[in-house]
């Protein structure tokens, strides 16, 4: 090739200025190329590929433009299933407004909101390509029962309705808000999210169900990751199989008079151990607000919302300082004086 490499540049120094300029430019370009080789900031600090070759999605491992181009070719529709039962209706507004802004923005999303109180739902402004279906559902007295019946409801509705309307389906807890874009990098056949509480834990200390009487029991010495039941999904067929198996496990346990340690999450973990996910989402995709953020979490895309206090996006700092000064600093100052 006629590209002027660094070696050639040294020998051409004595030739006319124009050639030097061209050479310098070529050198600069290839050096720049080499430094920022078209792959963006690679992640060396975390595991990005599981031993069964499923990618783990972290910030810096993917280029959303390429994925968007691939996704657009296929004209896919994604569904989101979420449950707002009893007091959880207070989270609907925050979830829906942030999801409309950040969840698969620009792509067609159908939200299925299951609630026991359809009248209490506020009016929600939906993005033009998104739809919202409100489906009434029965509530239970115990929150554990509500949690576990989600699996049954999802599998029944997939069979009767969702399989005809969407290609991919995700189940997300309602008490969350999105702060960063969650895009098409989550779309795959079977997707699990690594729990933000347990990503460092060793197998023995993970919260797996260990009592062998339960259907959700994971034997000692087994287990890959601890997945959270707050965000999982995949293709409609795979989510159907997952929810059916999990609910069958719940019913069997009920018959035997036992309840898994973390309810439907334990059953989910058992399923995902023997039906390994084809893609994993890092804890960025569901971060528990009570945890302090470590360095490996560069972005918090979706966070749980404190139950007793709703996050109001941005009380201006100035107002905070004004309040603080009025009620704390000024009186303190006066008393000292």
């Amino acid at each position: 090739a006629d590209v002027c490499t660094f070696g050639m540049f040294i020998s051409k120094v004595d030739i006319c200025a124009e050639e030097i300029c061209v050479c310098l430019y070529e050198f600069y370009r290839s050096f720049k190329d080499y430094l920022h080789s078209h792959i963006p900031c690679r992640r060396r600090d975390v595991l990005v590929l599981t031993p069964w070759l499923a990618p783990i999605v972290w910030e810096g491992t993917f280029n959303r433009d390429i994925l968007n181009a691939q996704y657009m070719q296929k004209k896919l529709v994604t569904g989101v299933v979420t449950f707002a039962v009893k007091k959880y209706v207070q989270f609907i507004e925050g979830f829906m407004s942030s999801a409309n802004k950040y969840f698969l923005a620009g792509h067609q999303v159908i939200f299925y909101l299951f609630t026991d109180n359809p009248e209490q739902i506020p009016h929600i402004q939906m993005a033009p390509e998104n739809h919202l279906f409100v489906i009434p559902v029965q509530n239970h007295s115990r929150w554990q029962d509500i949690s576990m019946s989600r699996m049954d409801i999802i599998s029944r509705y997939i069979r009767s309705q969702f399989q005809y309307e969407v290609h991919y389906l995700y189940s997300i807890d309602i008490d969350v808000q999105l702060f960063e874009h969650i895009g098409v990098e989550i779309i795959d056949a079977l997707v699990g999210t690594i729990s933000s509480w347990q990503y460092t834990a060793r197998r023995e200390s993970k919260s797996y169900e260990t009592r062998t009487e339960s259907q959700a029991a994971i034997p000692k010495g087994e287990g890959d990751f601890y997945y959270t039941a707050s965000f999982y999904g995949g293709s409609v067929a795979e989510v159907y199989k997952l929810t059916r198996t999990c609910f069958k496990g719940v019913m069997k346990d009920r018959e035997n008079g036992i309840e898994a340690r973390w309810h439907d999450e334990s059953h989910l973990n058992k399923y995902l151990l023997y039906h390994k996910p084809t893609r994993l989402l890092s804890p960025e995709y569901y971060w528990d607000e009570e945890l302090s953020r470590p360095r490996i979490i560069q972005v918090k895309r979706m966070c749980s919302v404190r139950k007793n206090m709703l996050r109001t996006p941005g009380i201006p700092g100035s107002v905070m300082w004004a309040m603080l000064s009025c009620h704390v600093f000024l009186p303190l100052g006066f008393t000292i004086i």
Partner: protein, 343 residues
């Protein structure tokens, strides 16, 4: 004259209907949920949206994967479009084997041994028997113009050799480029019913280490050994804009080698068809790409990105010194005198 029996039964019918309507018509009607078993619909979805199989993994004991302990920190293991790049250490062969063995797959291999290249067939097949997809059913499709010169190699059970006679073209570049057409035709006529996955390999190469189910995927390409640590401006893409294989400056992910590519039979069929079309387009315009079908392959993989990428371990050139990133060489070229072989 309507008989009394008929009148009586009609009156009875009317009375009963009226009775039912009065009693039950005002109350709410409950519909019992009726579950339709519909397995066909699910398989239809799987087929048309080209999903990956989620296999049932049996119980296995292996070291726990740790989120904060990546296995290979010196190389890129996932592409920006989230396709895995297969290096030694990134995968657990046992887990993958346990998932793929029960599927009863048949893997096909195509290789072209034309003219003097038939001398490489023996060593290729012998090494493949030792290292390529051990324990799986394999069909070797050797395309040749001289079937008598193909040696008889002892094959393991479940593996068979099929010799496909094809025409020899005058120049080696032409032979190389016509591979796409030949593979495409063969898939349409024969292989699509015989194999699940198909790999298209060069014949003048030898297997040195295991090549297993970690390489199976929808569309699989391998990184060329000469260009894996070099910036994209130095890739030998076809740079003339008059060619259909043109890749402009500033574009390109990797430089893929033309000696190894593969995937699902359906995908290889589509890919070889597209490549052959672009090759014919160039022919009509009187231009030949810089590296023949390899340039067209790279152009195709730029716009239709592979779902799995193999590291240069799977396509090595023995003339190069082994860098520290390459822990294991699995498939490599045989040293030969190019001038003598290519006539």
């Amino acid at each position: 004259m309507i008989s009394r029996k008929v009148v009586g039964s009609l009156v009875c019918l009317f009375v009963v209907t009226a009775f039912i309507w009065i009693t039950a018509g005002n109350g709410k009607v409950h519909y019992l949920p009726y579950y339709l078993p519909c397995p066909e619909i699910f398989s239809m979805k799987l087929q048309y949206t080209e999903e990956k199989l989620v296999q049932l993994f049996p119980r296995l004991f292996y070291q726990q994967p740790r989120v904060l302990a990546p296995k290979r920190q010196d190389v890129l293991t996932v592409t920006p479009w989230l396709a895995p790049i297969i290096w030694e250490g990134t995968f657990n062969a046992e887990i993958l084997d346990s998932a793929y063995r029960p599927l009863n797959l048949t893997v096909g291999v195509t290789a072209f041994a034309i003219g003097k290249y038939t001398r490489f067939v023996g060593r290729f097949l012998e090494s493949a028997e030792k290292h390529f997809m051990k324990g799986y059913r394999v069909n070797y499709y050797i395309f040749t113009d001289n079937p008598e010169t193909i040696p008889a190699v002892q094959l393991q059970p479940g593996r068979r050799l099929v010799i496909v006679p094809i025409k020899k073209y005058p120049s080696w570049q032409e032979i190389s480029m016509r591979r796409m057409e030949a593979i495409n035709k063969h898939i349409a006529e024969t292989s699509h019913g015989e194999v699940d996955y198909l790999f298209c390999l060069d014949i003048d190469m030898v297997f040195y280490n295991a090549w297993g189910p970690e390489t199976l995927g929808d569309i699989v390409a391998a990184i060329h050994p000469g260009y894996f640590n070099v910036p994209r401006s130095q890739f030998p893409y076809e740079r003339r804009s008059s060619s259909a294989a043109h890749i402009p400056d500033g574009e390109g992910d990797f430089y893929y080698g033309g000696a190894v590519f593969g995937g699902l039979v359906k995908k290889v069929y589509e890919f070889t068809k597209t490549c052959h079309m672009t090759i014919l387009t160039d022919k009509a315009n009187g231009i030949m790409a810089a590296w023949q079908e390899e340039s067209h392959l790279n152009r195709h993989f730029l716009s239709h990105k592979p779902s799995k990428v193999l590291s240069p371990e799977y396509l090595w050139d023995d003339r190069k010194p082994k860098p520290p990133e390459i822990h294991l060489i699995r498939f490599s070229t045989v040293d030969k005198d190019y001038k003598e072989i290519r006539d």
